[in-house]
């Protein structure tokens, strides 16, 4: 293990592209055994931030420090070209060599062991998502980056998969960067929450966030109106592209 428990550290990281900041000034730290969750509206830079952490951009502003090479990634969208005949079992060993037992174990954990020999093209959206997650955990990574890992998974499955993610972070002592829209789960299973809207809007432990007045505004009685979740009352106001346009005292 590294002397430091910090797997990835972003300092003032951002991307400026086509005369526009996709995301800017993100400070973020992912530690072993901890789950960090990114929340925020569409286009707020969640996926971009995850990709910065993964080192997928060539030119970024700010600084990224990565202390591990053993990384697993579940992208937001994976489309398998129809020209490519790939079975689940082939996909599991895409970037890694695995024993048959490890493959079966990982598929069993995400509940898709019976699909081991199926073709990826024949899976449903939820099944495919379970396979993506199984592939990522089978590698026993130090850092796991999950971009909306349970999209399309049925409700009971969703709960089970989130508790599996929690379990994995403890069992493997790995750091997890999670992007999720499912705020209730986020609040119960996460160690640290970062709310993005082109920059870091607010962050802290779920408890801190939950006790803050922002959280009550977010998850109070009006939480049924899900859209209002993102209309926080912070100390500043955003323009539509996420720039800060007004400070409120």
């Amino acid at each position: 293990m590294n002397t430091s428990d910090t797997l990835v550290r972003l300092s003032k990281a951002g991307i400026y592209k086509d005369k526009k900041w996709l995301v800017r000034d993100v400070d973020l730290e992912i530690n072993r055994g901890k789950i960090v969750t990114l929340i925020g509206p569409n286009g707020s830079g969640k996926t971009t931030t995850a990709k910065i952490a993964l080192g997928l951009y060539k030119s970024i502003s700010g600084n990224v420090e990565r202390n591990t090479q053993n990384i697993s990634y579940v992208p937001q969208k994976v489309s398998i070209d129809w020209t490519l005949p790939v079975r689940v079992i082939d996909f599991m060993v895409l970037t890694q060599n695995l024993k048959q037992d490890d493959i079966s174990e990982a598929l069993d954990l995400t509940g898709v062991k019976h699909l081991k020999r199926s073709n990826l093209r024949d899976l449903s959206g939820g099944e495919f998502q379970r396979v993506l997650l199984a592939r990522a955990i089978a590698k026993k990574p130090d850092l796991l980056v999950l971009d909306e890992p349970v999209q399309g998974v049925d409700f009971t499955g969703e709960v089970a998969l989130y508790s599996l993610i929690k379990e994995i972070s403890e069992k493997l002592n790995c750091g997890i960067l999670l992007i999720s829209h499912d705020l209730h789960v986020v609040m119960s299973a996460t160690d640290y929450v970062v709310c993005l809207n082109g920059h870091v809007c607010c962050c802290g432990t779920p408890k801190d966030v939950a006790q803050s007045k922002h959280y009550k505004e977010l998850f109070g009685e009006k939480s049924a109106e899900l859209l209002s979740i993102y209309e926080h009352n912070h100390d500043h106001v955003h323009s539509s592209d996420g720039n800060i346009i007004k400070e409120i005292k």
Binding site: K51, L54, G55, L56, Q69, I71, S72, Y73, P75, V78, I80, D81, T83, L84, P85, V86, R87, D90, F91, L94, T95, Q96, N119, K139, V145
Partner: protein, 266 residues
């Protein structure tokens, strides 16, 4: 035995089919068939340069095609043109430049049809050596980069995030394509090499449900095309390249019957 041109052609054909199988799979998976065409067209330029400068043909083709491949990779990044427009631009420009040079070389007796469609009669023992050593090298490199190349074919960002270097293996792969074209031009010809790359692979796609199976089947398809094509070319006196590709097409059509059945059963 190597004195017999048919035996030489068959040995050459086996060597080429062993390489076109796996490379063809990646060409199909990555949707690079037009890219292969462009490299092949630039091979005509290579042939003519080699004649006018009097240097080895295969080597010149390899250098010219590799250069074209690298220029293409470069241009794709630095212009706003779509990939297919760029390919058309390079493909036809290199063909045109080649033909203009050909005009200057009128004093040399030169078999254009042979370059365009392949000529088994012209395959000598030297070429055999080039095909088998070159082909062996191509397969060795492909085997070495197989995992990262396949991973980045399935998902570029996933491969990169998990520590592979997709950009580098992509560049290596295009060089391998250029090398294949260099060793196979004499046999198949500039216009038809992409056919041998993708038609047996397309057949294999119809019959396979995993990547390894597809590679093996496309090698078998390529070998069958070469054997039957060369035999037909010998017996009924047709050009070797087109005969091989026509056989490949027939195999592809046969594979459709199987797929039709599968769909019906569903």
């Amino acid at each position: 035995m190597l004195d017999d041109f048919l035996v030489r052609a068959i040995i050459a054909g086996i060597g080429i089919a062993l390489v076109t199988g796996p490379l063809g799979c990646f060409v199909v998976w990555r949707r690079l068939s037009f890219f292969g065409d462009t490299l092949a067209h630039s091979a005509l330029l290579g042939v003519l340069l080699s004649i006018s400068l009097n240097i080895n043909v295969s080597l010149t083709i390899f250098v010219v095609s590799s250069l074209v491949a690298l220029i293409l990779l470069r241009l794709e990044k630095s212009t706003n043109l779509a990939g297919d427009s760029l390919l058309g631009l390079i493909s036809h420009s290199s063909l045109a430049i080649g033909l203009v040079i050909l005009g200057f070389l009128s004093f040399i007796r030169f078999d254009v049809l042979g370059v365009l469609f392949g000529d088994i009669l012209s395959v000598n023992t030297n070429d055999l050596l080039f095909i088998w050593i070159g082909g062996g090298l191509i397969l060795a490199v492909l085997f070495y980069i197989w995992k990262p190349l396949f991973a980045s074919t399935v998902n570029y960002e996933l491969a990169e995030a998990e520590g592979m270097n997709p950009e580098r293996v992509n560049a290596i792969f295009t060089i391998l394509l250029a090398a294949l074209i260099a060793i196979s031009i004499k046999m198949i010809g500039v216009l038809l090499i992409t056919g041998l790359l993708i038609i047996p692979t397309a057949m294999a796609r119809n019959l396979s449900n995993n990547p390894k199976q597809m590679v093996v089947l496309s090698i078998i398809g390529g070998l069958l095309s070469v054997f039957i094509g060369l035999y037909a070319s010998f017996e009924i006196n047709t050009a070797s390249g087109p005969s091989i590709v026509v056989v490949a097409l027939i195999l592809f059509i046969l594979s459709l019957i199987r797929i039709g059945k599968k769909n019906y059963e569903k």
